[in-house]
Each structure stands twice: as structure tokens, then as C-alpha cells.
């Protein structure tokens, strides 16, 4: 990869970083030749952003070495990184919104205690950069009034203004329109021609194939492969990204669907920044079946769960459930959806599923706390809460079976059992369940899977969202694949294999089951 003449722009040796119990990066090695565009690809949570934050001095690595331009470099703060010629464009822009473009670019590189001289210099320098790299932007515009594509350009200018020779872009196209994204790649190419080294972090295969020279694949905090882009293809990268895992086995009979429970028609959701998170999602859910939603995380699955559970309101489309038609004009909130017997096990149990400071018996009634079962005339009926919690802990094998223990002090698997038990024991018609076994140990996984199948066999409808393909394939009767906010494929579980799903998840599948195919 390296011809030994020009030193490598970046070389990482055995970088490791741990956050509490989470090993975010493990023994990462990476070589990036000068003047190339290097892609780093991996699923969300694979540790890409952490690695980049280490290179940019936001975190310090626990162990390992960094060489920049052939010289061993200690990067403890962002200032060190800037000194070493590294610039970063963050996924969420680091701009002061009510400042002008000029002020944003100058911040931290003002060129003196007074602003006037620095402003004049910056104006000239920006003009030069703009013409050299086709990075036109009105320097006196207020940043918050610019479209996101231009805000990103300001971020790039900020880095170049500080003399960056290495530019890191973290998921740069996540907020861009396709046209803005195309323009970004033109800019990156011209940067490369000027000798700038670009590190492109993304989970989109299309961008990697279209713009990079080399690509490295990360999975679960580790660097699993390095390839020259011209010697690889989407299929291989998709497989490397998702990885081959130990096959999970769940004993279950074929589903016996007994009729329509929920139908979703053309669900759309536009977020506060005007980005379309859900695009015309339609599907049906029958009693007695498990429908799995596969997809690289961040492709609309969370938003779908939020819309169905009443946490977010639809922008358009309709949901028919329990005799009600839910639309943008007739929304139902999360508590009303619960009353209609729609139970929800959220993807992130710490943020949405539990109050970790609560004791188990308190957390076990969240969302159902107004139910007469837990209330006396004025006060909560603690006795009833406690005895029910003890009962459930025994039934679901929650350890330790202590209703007074704070939920934060249970292991991940036992926390998850508390949440799932809470929702399932309400005897819902539909169970929405997100990442049921994330951070759960293997024994508890089997347990949870069995319970999900049992619920199906009792004639309930289950919508399962998981980033674990094994789990999707093991549990589902039918699989929908989401990409970029839309359902791009649907297939019976019997036809699903890792390769097909992986390609569909990357929107790179052209076979008969795909709804849209890849137009790139």
C-alpha cells in the first residue's frame, strides 16, 4: 500500500479505548497514505466515531500510538490535533449559529488579540480557498440562515483555514440532499488533487465505492479488513461490515397468522430539521406472526417505532389499529396507544425503557402507573406493586429477585427482562420490540427469544427491530428491510440469508425480491 517514499499521512498502532464496560476501540491499526481518500466503513456503534475523536484529540486513547506524517505525535487535545494539521468535520456541526461565516472560521485562529486585522486577513484567505477548492460561500452570512450543505462547507473551510493537511469527515452526507452530497464529493476530489488526505467515515457503501481509494472496515470496535477500493465490491464490504456470527437457534413452529391487526399506509416523518426520516412506509401486521425489520441502524427503524408507539406524530400517512385511524390530523400519544393495547419495548432501555434511579418495583409499572391495579384512592398501592413485581421476577427469572434493588444495579439482561415483562404482562395486541437483546448475555437472550415466540403463539402480533441479522432471521416469520427511511425489500424468513439481507440493507440488491433496487 505504501511505496515508502512519501510518509504515511496517518498511522495508528494498537489504539484501544474503553468507556466503562464498553470496549469502543480494540487494537486498531490503520495506515493512510498521503493524498488519498480513505474510507472507514462500519455499522453504527462499530466505533468509527470514537476512533476519529481519538485522532482529533477529543478523547485520549487508553493505549496505542499515533504517527502523523511519519512522526510520532501525542494528541491530547483538539489543539494538538490542529497543530498536527488535522481538521475535522463533525457529524453535528461545531458552528456558532448566530455568528457569521467569517467569525466561525476565525474562532480559535484569530491572528491576534484584536479582531480587525485578523478579519481582513481571514477574508483574503477565504477568498483564496474558495477559488482554489470551489468552496464558495458568502463570508458575511449568518450561519444559521445557511442551508446545511453550505454550513458543512463552512466546517471544511474552518479546517483548511487552520492549514489542515488531513481532513476527517464523520458521516458527512447524513444531513445532505443527494445534490449537496454529489457536490461534496467534487470538493473532496479537488482537495485530494491539492494533496490533502481525506478520511471519510460512513456506513454508506455507495459513497465508499464512488469516492475512495482505500477502505477499512470496522466491526464491534475492531478493524476487520483493509481493501483497495478498486479490488473490492459492495457485496464483500457488506459482508465484512455485518460479519458472520454464531448462528442463533430458536425452536418455533411455523406461524399461523389469524388476521390483520395493524396496517400502516405510507407513513412519513419529517424531523425538526426538515429531513425526511420515514418515506412512505407501508406494511401489515397479522395476529400470530413476528415481523422483523432489518437494516443498518439509523435508517428509520427507530423513527418507525416512535411513530407506531405514539412517541412521534406522523407527518403524513395513516395507521389503522384497534378500530382507530391514526393520522397527522388525528394523532395519539404514547399513553393513548398503550390504552389501545400497543406495548412498546424501546430500543434503548436506559434512555427510554427505565428510570435507572427507580427501584425495580417502581420501574415495573412505568407507563401503566395510572392503572387501577397499582392505585388506591389517592396514593399508589405499594403492596400490590411489590407483590406483582415479586411474582413477575419469579416468572421471568430476574436475578436477583429483589424488587427494592435500583434498576441501574441489575445486569443488562435482567433490566431488559424487567422491561419486557412489564409490557408483555399487560397482554397487548401488538408488541413493538426494539433491539430486544442488545447488551444482554447469551443465557438471557435465549430466554427472551422464547418468550417472544410464546407471545406470538398466543396470537399476538410482534414487530421486531434489530440490527442483529441473526436475531432477525431466527425470530421473524417475515422480514422487511429498511434503508434511508424506506422499506426497500420484503421477504419470508425462509428465503432470507445473510448475504441477501446484507445487500438489501445496503440498498445494493438487484434480485427479484427488492422493491427499488440500486440505481447508483
Amino acid at each position: 500500500m505504501n511505496d515508502n517514499k512519501t510518509p504515511l499521512a496517518i498511522e495508528l498502532r494498537d489504539i484501544s479505548k474503553r468507556f466503562g464496560a464498553v470496549q469502543a476501540n480494540k487494537d486498531i491499526c490503520l495506515q493512510v497514505p498521503t493524498g488519498t481518500i480513505h474510507g472507514i466503513i462500519g455499522e453504527n456503534g462499530a466505533g468509527k466515531s470514537t476512533l476519529m475523536s481519538i485522532i482529533y484529540g477529543f478523547y485520549e486513547a487508553d493505549t496505542g500510538e499515533i504517527e502523523i506524517g511519519g512522526k510520532k505525535t501525542h494528541i491530547r487535545t483538539s489543539e494538538d490535533a490542529i497543530q498536527a494539521g488535522i481538521g475535522m468535520v463533525h457529524q453535528h456541526f461545531m458552528l456558532v449559529e448566530n455568528f457569521t461565516v467569517l467569525e466561525n472560521v476565525m474562532l480559535g485562529a484569530e491572528g491576534g488579540a484584536l479582531l480587525r486585522q485578523g478579519k481582513d486577513d481571514a477574508r483574503l484567505e477565504l477568498k483564496r480557498l474558495a477559488s482554489e477548492y470551489s468552496l464558495d460561500v458568502d463570508v458575511d452570512a449568518i450561519v444559521e440562515e445557511l442551508p446545511v450543505g453550505l454550513q458543512q462547507r463552512v466546517e471544511i473551510l474552518k479546517a483548511l483555514y487552520r492549514g489542515a493537511k488531513i481532513l476527517i469527515l464523520d458521516e458527512p452526507t447524513g444531513v445532505l440532499t443527494p445534490q449537496e452530497a454529489d457536490h461534496l464529493f467534487v470538493i473532496l476530489k479537488s482537495l485530494k488533487e491539492q494533496g490533502v488526505t481525506v478520511l471519510l467515515i460512513t456506513h454508506k457503501l455507495r459513497e465508499i465505492m464512488a469516492s475512495t481509494d482505500n477502505v477499512s472496515v470496522m466491526r464491534q470496535g475492531q478493524m476487520v479488513a483493509h481493501r483497495e477500493t478498486k479490488n473490492t465490491d459492495k457485496e464483500e464490504l457488506a459482508e465484512l461490515m455485518v460479519g458472520k456470527k454464531v448462528r442463533l437457534k430458536v425452536d418455533k413452529d411455523d406461524a399461523k397468522p389469524t388476521g390483520l391487526v395493524l396496517s400502516a399506509k405510507k407513513l412519513s416523518l419529517v424531523d425538526s430539521q426538515g429531513v425526511k426520516r420515514l418515506k412512505d412506509v407501508s406494511f401489515e401486521l397479522n395476529a400470530g406472526e413476528i415481523v422483523g425489520i432489518a437494516g443498518v441502524s439509523g435508517n428509520g427503524q427507530s423513527e418507525l417505532l416512535n411513530v407506531l408507539s405514539g412517541i412521534s406524530s406522523l407527518s403524513s400517512g395513516e395507521i389503522q389499529f384497534a378500530g382507530e385511524t391514526i393520522t397527522a390530523a388525528n394523532p395519539k400519544n404514547a399513553s393513548q396507544m398503550r390504552d389501545l393495547k400497543m406495548a412498546h419495548v424501546p430500543e434503548d432501555r436506559h434512555k427510554m425503557g427505565l428510570v435507572t434511579g427507580f427501584e425495580a418495583y417502581e420501574a415495573a409499572i412505568l407507563g401503566y402507573h395510572n392503572s387501577s391495579a397499582y392505585n388506591g384512592s389517592i396514593l399508589l398501592n405499594r403492596k400490590a406493586m411489590l407483590s406483582e413485581c415479586e411474582e413477575r421476577m419469579a416468572k421471568w427469572d430476574v436475578r436477583p429477585p429483589n424488587p427494592h434493588l435500583k434498576t441501574a444495579n441489575f445486569s443488562g439482561g435482567n433490566q431488559q427482562k424487567i422491561v419486557i415483562a412489564r409490557e408483555v404482562e399487560q397482554n397487548p395486541e401488538v408488541l413493538l420490540i426494539g433491539q430486544p437483546t442488545r447488551g444482554v448475555d447469551i443465557g438471557a437472550i435465549e430466554n427472551i427469544h422464547e418468550e417472544i415466540v410464546k407471545l406470538r403463539d398466543s396470537g399476538k402480533a410482534i414487530l421486531l427491530v434489530s440490527v442483529e441479522l441473526d436475531e432477525i432471521m431466527a425470530l421473524s416469520d417475515r422480514i422487511l428491510v429498511m434503508f434511508d427511511g424506506a422499506v426497500v425489500g420484503e421477504l419470508p424468513a425462509s428465503d432470507a440469508d445473510e448475504r441477501t439481507l446484507g445487500l438489501m440493507m445496503a440498498n445494493a440488491y438487484n434480485g427479484p425480491l427488492s422493491k427499488t433496487g440500486d440505481k447508483a
Binding site: 468507556f19 469502543a24 466515531s49 470514537t50 476519529m52 475523536s53 482529533y56 477529543f58 478523547y59 487535545t77 483538539s78 489543539e79 490535533a81 490542529i82 475535522m88 463533525h90 453535528h92 461545531m94 458552528l95 456558532v96 449559529e97 448566530n98 455568528f99 467569525e103 466561525n104 476565525m106 474562532l107 480559535g108 485562529a109 484569530e110 491576534g112 488579540a113 484584536l114 479582531l115 480587525r116 485578523g118 474552518k158
Partner: protein, 322 residues
Amino acid sequence: MFETLILILDATMRVSTPLILAALAGLFSERSGIVDIGLEGKILGGAFAAAAAAAVFGSAWIGLIFAMLASIGLALIHGFACITHRGDHIVSGVAINTIVAGLTVTLGLDWFGMGGQTPTLAGDARFLSLTLPFADAVADVPVIGLIYSELLSGHNVLVYLAFACVPLTYWVIYKTRFGLRLRAVGENPHAVDTAGISVAFLRYRAVIICGILCGLAGAYLSTAHNAGFLKDMSAGKGYIALAALIFGKWRPVPVLFACLLFGFLDAVAVRMQGVSLPGIGEIPVQAIEVLPYVLTVLLLAGFIGKAIGPKAVGRPYVKERA
């Protein structure tokens, strides 16, 4: 009538001085992202330190230095709680106000034994009025003479200093590197951090400036406006200054005018004592004294435009975990 107006405006300047200093103090703090409800406590602490030191050393200037040191000390406690330990800004500020209210009286009793007051200051232990050059000579010139000799001349040095602080603050905030970074850190500390600038160091510098200005305000109260420290002599000025800060939308010049408006109402209230207006009769002083507060409530209820403060104000800075 004209003379009355000049006299009211003259009083306005005196009453506004501590408000201006405190409001600018708050401006530095809040522009950096640190909410400062503790202006009141810092003024009171400064007032006590100034009076006590002036009484002991017989010099108003030494009193001023002690006022600033005491106030900076309180500001650093606030900074330590809010910046280093990411505590709640309001809780820390209120705690400082409460502690200072009790501590000044307790120390006053222990040191001077005069019921919590400090000895009455005289001579060099106070800031006395300065007469500007030719003030007496031009006093008889119509209109201008009165404006110069009554309104502009005859204040103590801290009054002039307070007014000079407004353009100075404007210059620092908008024309210097420090000002640019200060405004940035109150809006988006992440942007500042990724630009390679220490968020904590910036904010500490801001609260120290806040301490210095509050110290000036306190010293003005006890060693210039009055001749000694009285229990609770700050009398809510810190809160009024905070209101003026919001009223002026965290910008130096509008903040000055907000302070002058509140000061003017105060001066009118004093003037109106016992005056009977035709058709209305005697207006109770309290009715006018309450105006600044009514105005503030109206403002905070959103009647006078929307007051949008620095975006990151009151939020502790935590590096996000990717």
C-alpha cells in the same frame, strides 16, 4: 421645571451606577454561559468588604481593592461549582446570596460590634464627588451650564467609571479575540472546544471579570453612595440588574439604557415623595417604586419582544460520548 428634570436625571445617574456595573458583570458571565443569580450576593459582599477595609485602613481605594477581591472570591466559588463540578447555576447562585446575607452581618457584629453595620466613613475613606473643570465658571450659562455643572459634574469617580465601562465592554465583546470566544462559548461550547480552546478557562475568566465589576458596584454602595455598610444594603439591586440584562438582551448599550430606565424610575419615586399632582392627588411612593418590578414581570411575560439569551447558558459543558 427644567431644573427639576436635571435634578432627577442627576439622581438617575447616581442610582443607576451600581445597576450598570452589576448588569455588565452579569453580561460577561452569562455571555460565557454561566447564569449568575448571585450578582446580589457579590454586590453585598463587595459592599461589606469595601466598608470594612476602608474603615480599618482609612482609604476608599484600599476598600475598593478588598471589595473586588471578596467579590472575585465569591465568583470563583460559583465558577468552581458550575464550571468544574457542573453544578446547577441557580442553586449555586442562590446559595451564595444566602451565605453572604448572613455572613456580612455576622462578621460585622464580630468585628465592629455595631449591630451589623460598619463604622461611618468620612474623608479619604469615602469616594467623594469630583467637580469637573470650569463647572463653577459655566454654572450660570443658561441650559448648558446647568447640564454641565449639575448633571455631568459633581459625581464620584465610580460613577464615571461605570459609564466608561459600557463602551469598554462593547469593545471587548465585539472587537477582541477574547470577546469573540466569550460570545462563542455561551452559544456553542462544543464549537469552542473543537477549535482547540479551553471552555473552562474561558468561563473562569468571564466569572472573574464578573467578580471585579460586582466588587465595584458593592464598593460604590458602601463607600461612595453611602458612608458605611448597612445590613442587606444591596436591596435587590442584583436582581434588578439581572432584569436589565434581559431587558437589554445581553447587549452592552441596550443594557445601559435599561439600567438608566430603572434608575430613572427610582429617582422619580424619591422626587415624588409628598408631591401632589393636580387631579390625582398624592401618589404613593410605593406605586412608583414598584414600577421596575412590574416592568420586569411584563418583560419576562414576553410583552416587550422576545428576549433570547445565549443558547448554552446554564448548561454545564460535558464532552459528548461518541
